[in-house]
């Protein structure tokens, strides 16, 4: 019985730029990145940020206008998709509708110089890996969305590519299935030690599956780090707001002392990690869940008035009017007796606020 192995290799971009046609704005602007072998790295960003273009350049479906692309240390910048050892799982799955599941999975193997017998065995192993043994003779149209998705994964896996690419693979699945499939993908990835580059615009999905996340915005990398780094220490307001939600406050750094900054926000003063910033205007990002709603006038709070209180089952959501604008807060204490119109005080949980550049 053949077994699916991994030939995981690293991916590296060196100052890669992609300009479509005569467009004045580059789709990807001078991006450098490195994906270590055997890791799952997510490209995350709003639509039009260049993440899919980046992915397609790894695949060889788009050619870089400038810069260098390396896979496993070898320069593949000029190689077309056919000649790169990269497989891709498409958003639409792109299963060939006129071929059976088996034929689909065997498709790439046929061009890889395997013996006929081995092709069959590898295809079987691939289908088994995704839990679809026995579905080989069906047509893609006879499978459910989740099953089609797994066929697409099997088809890419059996080639034992150096890099496996996923282009928003879950966007066509319903919410419950999404959670399960993403765990399956992560399981297979860790089990086989694959290098995976994964594109999504869903930050929750990205946080859940990734070893590392590369956030892109306006054709450049906004931040590159582990899920926790991105969440707890966003580099700028965009990342703070894109990864989870964040309230952004204008604040003032009064002084910095040994990495600790004295921050003034209205009448409130706190000490925070300075993150290399100097005294002057800055911004403060605070997660909604790290804002505490307290009775009006409590110490170390800023005053506000509850505009809206929404019950969403597991949480209560608040919109609070303050001198800094609307603030969004979430509390899991659903039994708290708050009503709209009430005056409250907003406090920040420890480790809650993060300083970011103005």
């Amino acid at each position: 019985m053949a077994e699916i192995k991994s030939n995981a290799a690293s991916v590296e971009f060196r100052d890669v730029t992609k300009v479509y046609g005569k467009s004045p704005v580059p789709a990807v602007n001078n991006v450098s990145l490195f994906v270590e072998a055997g890791k799952l790295v997510t490209l995350l960003g709003p639509s039009g940020c260049g993440k899919t273009t980046t992915l397609r350049m790894i695949a060889g479906l788009e050619m870089a206008t400038r810069g260098q692309i390396l896979i496993g240390g070898a320069d593949v910048t000029q190689l077309p998709a056919t000649d790169r050892d990269v497989s891709m799982v498409f958003q639409s799955y792109a299963l060939f509708p006129h071929m059976t599941v088996n034929e689909n999975v065997e498709y790439g193997l046929k061009f890889s110089g395997f013996a006929k017998k081995e092709i069959g065995e590898r295809a079987r192993a691939g289908l088994e890996l995704v839990g679809l043994s026995g579905y080989g003779s069906r047509l893609p149209s006879e499978l459910s969305g989740g099953q089609q998705q797994r066929v697409a994964v099997a088809r890419a896996l059996v080639l034992e590519p150096q890099v496996l690419l996923f282009d928003e693979p879950l966007s066509n699945l319903d919410a419950k299935l999404r959670r399960r499939v993403r765990e399956e993908i992560r399981d297979i990835q860790t089990k086989l030690g694959l290098t995976v580059v994964y594109v999504t615009h869903d930050q929750e999905e990205a946080l859940a599956v990734s070893d590392r996340i590369i956030v892109m915005n306006n054709a450049v990398i906004a931040q590159d780090g582990t899920p926790r780094e991105l969440y707890d220490a966003p580099a700028d307001a965009f990342v703070a707001d894109f990864i989870g939600e964040a309230n952004i406050f204008d604040c003032e750094i009064a002084s910095v002392d040994e990495g600790l900054a004295k921050v003034r926000l209205g009448g409130l003063e706190t000490e925070l990690d300075a993150r290399g910033m100097k005294p002057g205007p800055a911004k403060l990002a605070v997660r909604p869940s790290r804002i505490e709603i307290k009775p009006a006038g409590s110490p170390r709070t800023i005053p506000g008035r509850l505009d809206k209180v929404t019950y969403v089952g597991s949480d209560l959501e608040f919109m609070v009017g303050t001198e800094f604008g609307e603030v969004f807060a979430v509390s899991s204490d659903v039994d708290a007796p708050f009503v709209p119109g009430q005056d409250v005080g907003l406090g920040f949980a420890a480790r809650g606020p993060v300083l970011i550049r103005a």
């Binding site: 000029q78 050892d85 060939f96 006129h98």
Partner: protein, 749 residues
């Protein structure tokens, strides 16, 4: 990296094309073989000198100008051991390919029937004392080899992502279109300047171009007739407008009135498409001519004096409306169905009533379809040759005028070329006007998202009018076809109405003799030729059309717009013009094809290619591009992707292109009337001959047989090519088949 690196030696693709080129240069006869392209007698006669390959000729010291080609063909050996990524690899191949191809063209055109063609060459090298012959297999293979070596070189230099298959295909299509569309048209232009004594004169040309015969406006001032050009233009505009209106009426009836017999109507509209072009004209004569059935009945019942009113504009208009309305219908039904119901529903929820919705939303969204339908009707009418020949009377039009300029007593090629130019100018103007009118607005209403909803019904008044017009048209069509069928059994129409099989027997009698079946009937020869030519040309047409569509939809390359324009241009060139230009261009070396079957095949391929392109483009745009891309990332190259993924999914388009080009080859008349020869006579020109001799019985019987044969072959093609097996989605995709086949029926006749 997938392990694909070659180990030393030459690149396999280069070896392949060198081998092909060497086969052409050293083994096969360089010049055309007398007994036709498929004649192989030279094989058994031990290479007589005139069938010798270029290598032998050169060694014997003859046609020394061919020798450089051999050297160039061997030149890729210089690349021994070099990798594809080596910059020299690409540069050298490009240089070799370009030089070889250019030298072939140069020697082809520089040396003519009587030695040097250009004075300066004579001055340079003196009298040649030798002549050129038409090129044959050898030349063909060598030319192809140079072309593809050039492509491999370009690909190695990084053109189109370094894809050899795509670059080669582009080069091939460009070369083919250049050689068989642009070159003939240019030669025709040059010929239009030639005077009777063989010199070039612009004044004579202008005199002929602006002659009163073409442009007189006498009829407006009370005179008897107008210029031929005005006649053609007037008729074409009229036919274009009316077929568009009628086509729209039918399309609306099928989609917007809850009409239940849509399938029947569609079947009925196929009839005129598989009908040889002048049969309807004939039927109209049988009914409304001097001794026509309807004319006689009226004169007996009401004492109306029979006249020849039907000859001229009225008859032409009726015949062309009957023939071309179905084409407009097929174009418009796709468009009318394509208008997203949610647009119309949105208009209605915004308080527009049904009339307002129709005028402000539905109709404007159909604009591309309307423009297309008009253009088709216009070009078809311009190029129509059969009906004016039969029904024209004193109403002369350009197409028949061109014909008589060539076959008439004067045999004036220059005059024919000038007339063809005028015709071409009209159709190209219409082509541009259409593009201009549509502009850059987007009329895309198919979003690809779920599109539930219902088309609103037509307003009641409009619905009644639509039913009335359609009902009349259908009744009239059935009447016409019944007449054709009946007429083929009548002894002598208008004189002796007894029934007989005599016409069928005369045309299609079969007997036995010592060699087996003896095809006694007079029509058999042209019938077999037609079938053979149609069967050869239709797969070739479909192939080049679909390849071109693949390039247009799926690939991006420099000059794509020009490429698209070039391939679609022949769509606006009337068949008559193609016919004349082929006669002029391929009568003399280097490409000497007059009187062969090849010229017929070629004319069909390039006449009907735009149809294959459109069918391919329409259905390829419906296939998600990620299918191609996933195939590429799975390691298939672009040829494997085309062959294994795109083609199988394109089957409906293949059927449409095959069926259409086959039917067109069987029924075309305007181009081939100039190209047929005694040996390669076609059904339609044979029938025209019978009509000219007033043997209407045989003409009609033959046409009836052709209609039957076409129905059978079309059915067979559907079976052979088959359907895509894609399970559930098959249903949804088969819905799109109307869209796939709708652009199929376009182009001049």
């Amino acid at each position: 990296m997938r392990s694909r690196e070659q180990s030393g030696g030459l690149h396999p693709t280069v070896i392949l094309w060198m081998a092909v080129g060497m086969l052409g240069f050293a083994v096969l006869p360089w010049y055309g073989v007398e007994d036709g392209f498929f004649g192989l007698s030279w094989l058994f006669e031990g290479y007589p000198l005139e069938f010798a390959p270029a290598l032998v000729l050169s060694l014997k010291g003859e046609k020394l100008w061919l020798a450089p080609l051999g050297l160039l063909m061997a030149a890729p050996l210089l690349l021994w051991g070099r990798q594809k990524s080596d910059p020299l690899f690409g540069k050298l191949l490009v240089a070799i390919g370009a030089a070889g191809f250019a030298w072939m063209l140069f020697q082809g055109f520089a040396i003519g029937l009587r030695g040097w063609q250009f004075g300066w060459l004579q001055g340079l090298f003196g009298e040649l004392g030798d002549r050129q012959f038409g090129m044959g297999y050898g030349a063909l293979l060598v030319g192809l080899a140079f072309l593809f070596l050039f492509s491999v070189g370009l690909a190695a230099r990084g053109a189109v992502g370094g894809d050899v298959f795509v670059v080669s295909t582009i080069a091939f299509v460009v070369a083919a279109v250049g050689l068989f569309i642009f070159m003939p048209i240019l030669q025709m232009l040059a010929n239009a300047l030639v005077t009777e004594d063989g010199s070039y004169s612009v004044t004579t040309f202008l005199g002929k171009l602006f002659s009163a015969r073409l442009w007189s406006l006498d009829c407006l001032a009370g005179g008897s007739r107008c210029g031929v050009a005005w006649n053609s233009l007037f008729l074409a505009v009229l036919v274009g407008v009316l077929t568009t209106v009628l086509g729209l009426v039918f399309a609306l009836m099928v989609t917007r009135t809850g009409f239940r017999y849509g399938k029947l109507l569609r079947a009925l509209t196929v009839l005129p498409i598989i009908t040889p072009p002048f049969v309807i004209g004939l039927a109209i004569i049988l009914l409304f001519g001097l001794s026509g059935a309807v004319t006689q009945t009226f004169s007996e019942l009401f004492g109306i004096q029979p006249t020849r009113w039907i000859y001229g504009l009225p008859g032409l208009l009726i015949a062309q409306l009957l023939a071309f309305t179905p084409i407009a219908f097929l174009v418009l039904i796709g468009v009318v169905e394509g208008v997203s119901p949610s647009m119309e529903e949105a208009a209605q929820t915004l308080r527009a009533n049904r009339w307002q919705t129709f005028w402000t939303v539905s109709l404007p969204l159909m604009r591309p379809g309307l423009a297309n339908a008009f253009l088709l009707g216009f070009i078809e009418s311009m190029a129509d040759f059969g009906n004016p020949l039969v029904l024209g009377g004193n109403f002369d039009v350009l197409s028949t005028e061109i014909f008589f300029a060539i076959v008439g007593a004067q045999n004036d090629e220059a005059q024919a070329a000038i007339l063809a130019l005028v015709l071409l100018a009209f159709t190209l103007l219409a082509f541009y006007a259409q593009r201009f009118w549509l502009g850059k607005k987007s009329y895309t209403t198919m979003s690809g998202k779920g599109d539930a909803g219902m088309h609103p019904q037509l307003p009641t008044g409009l619905k009644r009018a639509v039913y009335g017009v359609a009902g009349f048209w259908v009744a009239f069509t059935i009447f016409i076809y019944a007449t054709i069928f009946y007429g083929s059994f009548v002894k002598l129409w208008g004189v002796d109405h007894s029934l007989t099989f005599a016409h069928y027997v005369k045309a299609f009698a079969v007997g036995w003799n010592e060699f087996g079946i003896h095809w006694k009937g007079s029509a058999w020869s042209s019938f077999w030729t037609t079938l053979q030519i149609a069967l050869i040309s239709s797969p070739l047409t479909a192939a080049i059309g679909l390849l071109t569509a693949y390039l247009l939809v799926r690939q991006n390359f420099a000059g794509k717009n020009a490429f698209e324009f070039g391939t679609m241009l022949s769509f606006a060139i009337p068949g008559t013009v193609i016919g004349v230009s082929y006669v002029i261009a391929f009568n003399v070396p280097p490409i000497e094809l007059t009187g062969t079957g090849i010229i017929l095949v070629l004319s069909f391929i390039f006449r009907n290619m735009p149809v294959g392109v459109r069918a391919g483009v329409a259905s390829m745009s419906q296939i998600d591009k990620s299918l191609d891309e996933s195939s590429l990332t799975l390691g298939a190259n672009s040829w494997q992707t085309f062959h294994r993924v795109v083609l199988p999914l394109l089957r409906p388009a293949i059927v449409a292109a095959l069926v259409y080009s086959f039917v067109r080859a069987m029924t075309a008349i305007s181009a081939i009337i100039f190209l047929v020869s005694a040996r390669y006579d076609m059904s339609t020109s044979y029938i025209v001959g019978r009509v000219e001799n007033n043997e209407y019985g045989i003409a009609i019987a033959y046409s009836a047989v052709l209609i039957g044969v076409m129905l059978a072959v079309v059915g067979l093609m559907q079976l052979v090519v088959g359907r895509r097996n894609i399970g559930r989605r098959g249903h949804e995709l088969s819905q799109s088949r109307t869209n796939v086949s709708q652009p199929a029926f376009s182009g001049g006749s």
